[in-house]
Amino acid sequence: MIPAAFEYKRAGSAEEAINLIGQYGDEAKFLAGGHSLIPLMKLRLAQPTMLVDIGRVKDLSYIKDAGDHIAIGALTRHMDVEKSPVLSQHVPLLAHAAGYVGDAQVRHRGTIGGSIAHADPAGDIPATTLALGATYVVQGPNGKREIAAKDFYKGFLESALAADEMLVEIKVPKMNGAGWSFQKFNRRAVDWAIVGVAAWRNNGASGVALVNMGSTPVLASAVSSALAKGASVADAAAHAADDAEPQADLNASVEYRTHLAKVLVRRALEQASK
C-alpha cells in the first residue's frame, strides 16, 4: 500500500492553494482530510504528482449563522458538523448525517468540503447537501462563484469544479422546522451506504436525495413532484428510483438497490412526516 511518488506543498491560504494548483495543472490535487484521496493513492488508482495540502488553511473551518442559511467553511471536519449546535438547531438533517460518515477517526480527519469535492455518489454528505438545496461557493484565480448543488455533480467522482478551483464554502438553507430523516442502509456500521436517503418535508415542499443510486448523488425529483401533487407517502416513494440509474456491486443487484431505494424513501418520508 505504497503510493506512487508525488511532490507536496503546503498552502497557507486559499489564494496560495489556488495559485499552486494553477501552476501544476491537472496532475495536482488538493489534500484536505485525506480520507478519500489517500486510500485511492495507496491503491495507485490515483497518482497525482503534486499534492497541495490545504489542511492548515485555518480560516476555512467555520459554521456561521448567515440569516436565511448557514455558511460552513469547506475545511470543517465532519465531527464539527455533527456536533455543531448551530446546525443542530437550523439544519439538523446535515448534523445528523455527518454522524454517519465513516467512523469517529474518519470524522475527525475528513472534511465536508473534501467529501463534496470528491463527488462520490456513495458519500453521505453530497446527497444530504443536495437534498437540502445547498449552494457551493468555489474560488478560482479570478475570484469566487457559486454553484447550486443540483448543478455540481457531473459524473462518477466528477464535479463542476475547474482544475484550478477550490471549494471554499457550503451554504445550506435553514430548515425552518421541517421534518426530516436520514436513512443509511449498510451491512457494517462503517461502510458506505448500499443505499441512503436524505429527506425533508415542510408543508408542500420537500427535498429527497439518494446515496449510491447512480454515478452521482441523485435528487429524487419525481418523489417531490408526487408529494407536491398530494400523493401519499407510499405512492410518492414508489417513484424513488425514477431519477436514478443504479449499478450492481458486491452488496446489491440493480433490482435490489431499486427496491431498497423505494423502501428507504418511504421510511424516510414517514419519519419526516411525523
Binding site: 506512487a4 491503491l43 457494517r188 456500521a189 462503517v190 452488496n251 435490489y256 431498497l260 423502501v263
Partner: protein, 795 residues
Amino acid sequence: MSITQERTNSIIGQRMLRREDPALLTGEAKFTNDLVIPGALHLAVLRSPYAHARIKSIDVTDALTMPGVIAIYTGKDLHATWAAPMPCAWPVTPDMKNPAHFPLALDKVCYVGDGVAAVLANSETESRDALDAIDVAYEPLQAVTDLEVALSDKTIIHEAIGTNKSYTWNLKVEATEGAVDEAFKNAAFTVSERYIQQRLIPMAMEPRAVVAVPQPFGGDITLYSATQVPHILKVMTAITLGIPEHQLRVVAPAVGGGFGSKLDVYAEELLCVALSRKHGAPVRWVEERTENTQSTIHGRGQIQNIELAADKDGKLTAVRVRLIGDMGAYLQLVTPGVPLLGAFLYAGVYDLPVAYDFSCTSVFTTMTPTDAYRGAGRPEATYAIEVAMDALARKMKIDPYELRKRNYIKKEQFPYTAFSGLTYDSGDHLAAAEKAMGHADYAAVRKKQATQNVAGARKRLGIGMTSYFEMCGLAPSRVLASLNYGAGGWESATVRVLPTSKVQVVTGTSPHGQGHETSWAMIAAEKLGVAPEDIDVLHSDTAIAPLGLDTYGSRSLAVGGVAIAGACDKVIDKARLIAAHQLECAAEDLEFAQGTFSVKGSHDKAVPLAAIAFAAFTAHNLPDGVEPNLEAQYTHDPKNFSWPFGAHICIVEIDTETGKVDVLKYIAVDDCGIQINPLIVEGQVHGGVVQGLAQALYEEAVYDTDGNLKTTNLAEYLVPAACDVPPITTDFTVTPSPTNQLGVKGVGEAGTIGAASTVMNAVIDALSGLGVTKLDMPASPNNVWKAIQAAQGGK
C-alpha cells in the same frame, strides 16, 4: 526469593490479565516488520493479473534501470535454487495429484496473485515502483472457478498431471455391507441437502512479513517470519532450499493473528532466504493488504451434499456425505487434509449406528490456494449436520431441539466409541443445551414468535441452535500416521528452575495472540508452587526452543500445556530426591505442596523448592547419581484428540422488506474441560463466534468468472467490527478431559465451529414460514431479500 509460601488458592482457574497485553497495547511489541535490520534489501513480488495464463515473455530491462533496483529474478532464473518444490505435508491418498509448485511461476500462472518475478531494491518504495516497470506478455487461458466445471476437466490447469482432480478420499463404515443403502431404503424420513461453504479470507490483522538475515560467517541464516509454525518452517525451508537444517534458525517475533493462514510455508519465506544467500545481505518483505487477500491462503471452499436417514421417531439411522473440496491452484502445506479433518464429524454429536458413508473429491481451480482456516474441516462438518438436522425437524414437523434430544449421545454412554472407531472421551450434550436453552428462554421465544411471525409481518423472529464437538488438540501421532500426515502431533516442554528459583518454561508452541505466556506460567506456577510472575515463558525461536510442532488446531494447551505439566512433574521428581537427601528421609516420605517438600506428618521438617534449586546449582551436596541443575524436558504425545463440546443458540430478527438480519442475542455454552484462565477462554469464544457469525452473515471471497478476486480490501471483504456484532452470552459446563493430567481441552476453534450453523438455523427459522428453507451463506440483505422474493413468487 519470592516463591509464594502461603498460597491456598489455586492459580489455575483465575482470571489473570494477560501479561502479553501491555506491550501489545502500547505498541512496544516488535512484529517482524518492526525489526530494524541495517543493510536489508527489500523484496517485492510481481503478481499475475490473470487467473490462468501462459507466460510468453518477461522483460525486466526498464525495471532494472529504476532507482535503487539491485536485481530482478524470474521463476526460470531461480529454478536451480530450489532443491524441491514447495512442500505439501499431507499426501492424503497414495495417488493424490500434487503439481510441482515453486515460489515463482515458471511458464504458467494459475491464479491472480501467483508470483511471476521478484525485485530486490534498496528500499520498499523502490521495490514497489519497479514492479510497474516489468513488462510481462501473457497468453490468457480459460479461468476455472466453478468446482463442478473443474471436475469435468474441460480446461486442465496443470497439464503435467492431466486432470484437475487431486484425490478422492473415502470413509465408508457399515456394520454389515450395504447397511447405509438399506438404512436409506427403510428410513421413515430422509433429507438431502446441498450446502456451499464459501471461500473465506483469514485476514489476520498483521499481514505476513519476512526477514532473512545471513550470519557473517559460516553460512548460518536466521529467518524471521510472521508465522504460526517456526519449527515446521525450519524443517521445510531446509528441505526446499537444500540448506543444512542446523544452519537455519527461525524466529517468530510478535505475530498479529493467524487463524491458520500463517500455518504454512510460503513463497516469500523461501525467496527471502534464497536471495539473502545469493546476495549475502539481509532480505525483507512485507505483504500489502491486497496481496494478503490474493496470496495468503483462503479458507473453506466446499460443496457439501449431505443426506440423513431417520426412523419414524427421528433417530438417525445413516449419514451419507459427498464433498467437493476447492484446493485452489496448488496444494499448500496441509491443503488436501482440511476437508478430511471434518470427515469424522458429519454425524455431529449424535448416536449414529455404524452406517456412515463419506467421500470427498478435491479439485484444482484457478483461485488462491486454500488451506487450514480456524476450525479447518470441522466448522464445515458441523454446519452440514446441524443445518441438515433442522431440515429433518422441519420435514418431521417437530421442534429441532426435540429432534436433537432424541439423538444426542447420552452422558452415560461416554467414553463413546463412534462409528468411525474414534473414542469420544467425555461429554454431556444435554446439559450444555439445557443451559443454553435457559439463557435463551426458549419457550418464551417460541411463544413470541408465534404471535410475531404472522403473514405480512415486517419483522420476523427466528431462533436456531447447534450442538457441536470440537475434535481438536492435534494430535495423537499414531492417528496422524493413519491419516498419512507428514509429521507427528506431540509437543515439547522444558522447565528450568534457575539458581535464584526463577523459572523458565520453554515451549514448542508458538503463540500469535492466544496468551500462551500467561497461561503457561499459570500451569507451571500451579505445579511448582511458584508465583506466576517469577516464571518466564520462552517460545517461537528455534534456537531457544528447538523442539516443537507449533500452534494450530486448538492443540497448544491440550498438547503443549500438558507437556509443561509433565516437565514440571519431572522437575519435582528430581527435586524430591535432593530434598530427601537434605532432610535425611526417604523420597516417598515427602509430600510437595505450595512449593515446599515436607515430611509427611511432621511439617517442621521441610525444604522449599528455592533451596533445592540453589543446591542443585551449586551441586556441593547432591545425592549420588543426581546430575546438577534442576531442569527437565518432557514430550507429550496425546492418547486421543481432545473433545470439547457445547451448545450455541442465536436469536435473530429479520426485516423482510430489506432482508437485513439483526442478531438480537447469541448464547455460547462451551465445555473445554478445566479452564486455566477463564478470561482467555471467553476471549477465544468471543473471537471464534464472531468469525463463525461473519461467515454466516458477512464474509465471502468473491471471484468473477474470469477468476478475478473482487474482494481485495477491507471495504469489499466485510470483516465485521466490534460495533457490528451482538453481545455474546458465554457460559460453560466443565467436563474434565480424562486423557490428560490437567483435564483440559482445546477452545481456540470452538466458537467458529458452532457459530455459522447456529446463525443460519436462526435465519431459516425466521423465514421458513415464508417458504424459505434454503439459503446460502452469507445471509446478506440482498441474498435474504432475493430468497424471500423467490419463495413468495413461487407461491
